[in-house]
C-alpha cells in the first residue's frame, strides 16, 4: 500500500466502517510510515475539532423570537 492509497481510505478507518482485513493492511502501512501516522493523527483530531466547533447553541433571544414568530403564525392557522 502506498501513502496515496492509505490516505484515500482514512475516512472509513477513522469512522470505523472499514472491513477488518483492509484495516489490518492499512495498519501495516502505518506501522512503517511516519508521515501517514502523522496524517492519521491530525486527520482524526481535525474531525474532533470540526465537531466541537459545530456544536453551537441557538441563542436564547433567537429562540424567544422563534416562539413569538410561530405564535403569530398559529393565530392564522
Amino acid at each position: 500500500m502506498t501513502c496515496r492509497e492509505a490516505i484515500d481510505i482514512l475516512a472509513d478507518y477513522v469512522d470505523g466502517v472499514m472491513p477488518a482485513e483492509r484495516a489490518a493492511e492499512l495498519e501495516r502501512h502505518l506501522a512503517g510510515c511516519e508521515p501517514c501516522r502523522a496524517y492519521l493523527a491530525t486527520y482524526r483530531k481535525t474531525r474532533e475539532l470540526g465537531a466541537a466547533a459545530g456544536r453551537i447553541d441557538m441563542p436564547a433571544e433567537m429562540l424567544a423570537r422563534l416562539r413569538r414568530f410561530l405564535a403569530d403564525k398559529l393565530r392564522t392557522v
Binding site: 501513502c3 483530531k45 470540526g50 466541537a52 466547533a53 441563542p59 433567537m62
Partner: protein, 199 residues
C-alpha cells in the same frame, strides 16, 4: 415515524401551541446547528429555522412518514439552507484541490519532511479551540463549499451515518463519503499550515 410524532405534526397543523412547543423542544437546536453550519450566518440560520417550523406546521400533517421525522426535518433544513446560500460569499470558497495532499509518482507524500511528519494532534483542545487556531478553523470551515459543509455537519456534528446523510442530501453514499473526506482533509491542511512543523 412514531405514533407520537404523527400526533404532534397533526396537532401542530391545527394550531396546537403545545404540540409545536414539543416539536421545538425536540428539534430547534438541531435545526439551528445544521442551518448555521451550512449558511455560516446567524441571521440566515434564524430565517431558515423559522421557515423550517413553518413547513412543519403547513406540511407536517401531509408527511407520509416513510422516513423518520428527524430525517425529514434535516432534509428540509438542508434544502432551505442551501437555497439561502445560493449566490452568496462565493469569493470565500477556494478550490479544495490546493488543500488536498499531494504525492510523488511513487505514491509517497510530496513536500518538506518537517511538514509531512508534523503532528499537532496532542496540542490541548483548549489551545486548538481558542485564539488564532480557532480563527483558522472557523475560516477553513467558511471556505468549504456549502454542500461539503452540509455533509460535514450531518456526519461529524449530528453523528448520522453515511447512509442517513445520503438520504437527507439526496446523493449517493459514495458521493457523501468523498465530500466528507475532502472536507476533513481541507480543514486538516489549513490547521497544519497554521500549527505545522512548529508543533
Amino acid at each position: 415515524m412514531t405514533t407520537e410524532d404523527r400526533s404532534l405534526l397533526a396537532r401542530a397543523a391545527t394550531g396546537d401551541a403545545d404540540a409545536l412547543e414539543a416539536l421545538m423542544t425536540r428539534y430547534s437546536a438541531r435545526v439551528y446547528r445544521l442551518a448555521y453550519g451550512i449558511t455560516r450566518s446567524a441571521p440566515d440560520a434564524e430565517e431558515v429555522v423559522q421557515d423550517v417550523f413553518l413547513q412543519i406546521i403547513n406540511k407536517g400533517a401531509g408527511f407520509e412518514g416513510r422516513a423518520a421525522l428527524g430525517s425529514w426535518i434535516y432534509r428540509i433544513t438542508t434544502n432551505l439552507s442551501l437555497n439561502k446560500r445560493r449566490g452568496k460569499r462565493r469569493e470565500l470558497e477556494t478550490s479544495l484541490d490546493e488543500l488536498l495532499p499531494t504525492f510523488l509518482p511513487d505514491g509517497h507524500r510530496a513536500g518538506e519532511r518537517a511538514f509531512v511528519v508534523a503532528d499537532w494532534s496532542e496540542t490541548p483542545d483548549r489551545a486548538l479551540l481558542s485564539g488564532e487556531s480557532r480563527r483558522v478553523l472557523e475560516a477553513a470551515i467558511d471556505r468549504l463549499p456549502e454542500h461539503y459543509r452540509a455533509v460535514l455537519v450531518l456526519r461529524d456534528v449530528e453523528e448520522l451515518s453515511n447512509e442517513e446523510v445520503a438520504q437527507i442530501v439526496g446523493d449517493s453514499v459514495a458521493a457523501v463519503k468523498t465530500r466528507l473526506h475532502r472536507a476533513r482533509m481541507a480543514l486538516r491542511e489549513q490547521l497544519t499550515r497554521h500549527l505545522g512543523a512548529g508543533s
